[in-house]
Amino acid sequence: MHDTPNVHLSLPSRPENVLLVRQALSGLAARVGLDAIETNDLNTAVTEACNNVVMHAYEGAEGPLDVEVRLLEGAIGVSVRDCGVGIGADPRERTGSNAEDDQHELDGMGLAVIEALARRVELAEPAGGGTDVRMEFPLPDGVALESIDGTSTNTSLPEMAPAGAVELRIAPSALAQAILPRVLSALAARAHFTTDRIADVQLVADALATNAGESLEGASMAVAVTVAPRSLELRIGPLHAGRGESLVETAADGLAPVVERLTDSTRVAPSTGAGETLELRLVDRR
């Protein structure tokens, strides 16, 4: 696997966050032309690995869940990582445990599901502890990787996102069109937005995904989202100095100040480096 993942989700290991992984994967799958069965295989296997982290990695507590997706030559590589207790004994030895009760366990059943659906599975124990489930799925021929491949620098948001935030890094940023609207819609649903306002969130996501490219400092786009009841806070970066404002205001996309008109507040915050971070707030007032 090459270094920078095309999609990287950093999530608190909560059950509801597995949905975000599925939404991101479905968007990516549609973008690279997987059919419904291939998408279902990918989603089902990765869900098993994520549910295992949620249920078992931190012994009832919460910790980081990292999902990285890489588009490779003829393959999609997915790594599901935690910093938890580790798998210990080969879970295959526990294959007999009950399927109905342990819906979420990467016991033999979960692993058997992954093994049946992925082309390759590898269980690794990263140096810092925890578990890394690495899976590989076939990528159909003819996927135009050149449009996806990019020399991307490793970026993260300059200021750390608040605890509990969902962080999403997409490289190159053009891939965001396939992923950001879905993930943000799911988060808007979690914030109890009405369908009306979710549709606005999608428009904002579209606008950002389409227009942020040139404003970004590097090839990748980082988005951190904090969810509160009827409110979503987004931080997008790292942007070139002076670009945050123009991303909000310019009419470069269609009728345009889509971002300005559909968000409730916007703020540009300087980041530690030379660049800046765009902060957006969307509220559903009903």
Partner: protein, 268 residues
């Protein structure tokens, strides 16, 4: 947590209420009795024992797709095949053999039924249901529902609703575009609600490129853009005005913004 043990040495529980003949019979005995002597009672005991695993797989693999009962049937067929083909002698636990067999059966079913290519039947029906429920709830409450309200109303997962919203955005083939009655029951032709939009656009500062490209998208879409971005109507209000669904408004908005971007890009 109950556990179904299948190691050769341990004794398996048999289904409750089975006759004495089965009590204490190990899985391996049951396999031998079924595979070598075609004992239907043994097979039934095995089916009962592994039905939870089969059901779990149908649920995990088949979510958001076909009706669960259909899938369970397909998965069960996979279980029967696995019961026939499992080789006790090789010493692997049965589930590690059954899981890929059952999943394989479900994949084949999806493949054969054209599920891979077409909008899955379940997903399509669900999208239409979600759209209709959205309208009904919006009319009842005077504002559009949340995803949870839709999920509760339709007895679906929130994820199913989200996927449906996505499908409505994506699939042109869903017949979503027919004119529909307004809340007051009156059917409105699009033309009635559209007009005089051009002067209203002047309220917004638009650069020359945009003004030029705006003229190239259909009238109805232009009207929707105006209502949302100039008059600041909500999508639900727009939907009521022109007599289409909010979801359709959403789709048209997304599409026309995309069109505008493409046009603006091409002419700049």
């Amino acid at each position: 947590m109950s556990s179904v043990t299948v190691e050769p040495t341990s004794s398996s529980r048999t289904a409750p209420g089975r006759g004495d003949a089965l009590r204490g019979a190990s899985s391996n005995e049951l396999f031998t009795r079924w595979q070598q002597h075609r004992d239907p009672v043994a097979r039934e005991a095995l089916v009962r024992q592994y039905m939870p695993l089969t059901r779990g797989l149908a649920r995990r693999y088949g979510r958001s797709s076909e009706p669960f009962e259909d899938l369970l049937q397909v998965a069960s067929l996979g279980l029967l095949k696995a019961l026939d083909r499992y080789d006790v002698e090789r010493g692997h636990p049965f589930p590690s053999f059954a899981v890929p067999t059952i999943l394989g059966e479900m994949r084949r079913y999806f493949r054969d039924s054209g599920w891979a290519i077409h909008v899955p039947r379940g997903a399509q029906e669900r999208a239409l249901k979600v759209r209709d429920a959205q309208e009904r709830l919006a009319n009842e409450h005077g504002r559009s529902p949340t995803v949870n309200q839709l999920a509760q109303y339709l007895e679906l997962d929130a994820e199913d609703v989200l996927d449906a919203l996505q499908a409505i955005q994506a699939y042109e083939t869903l017949s979503l575009d027919a004119p529909r009655p307004r809340a007051d029951g009156e059917v409105v032709a699009y033309g009635d609600t559209i007009g005089k939009e051009d002067e209203r656009y002047e309220l917004v500062e638009l650069d020359a490129t945009l003004t030029a490209v705006l003229g190239r998208i259909p009238e109805r879409e232009r009207a929707i853009l105006r209502m949302r971005f100039v008059e600041d109507l909500t999508q639900t209000e727009i939907a009521e005005h022109i007599g289409i669904s909010q979801m359709q408004v959403s789709r048209l908005l997304r599409r026309s913004l995309e069109q505008l971007r493409t046009l603006a890009h091409a002419s700049s």
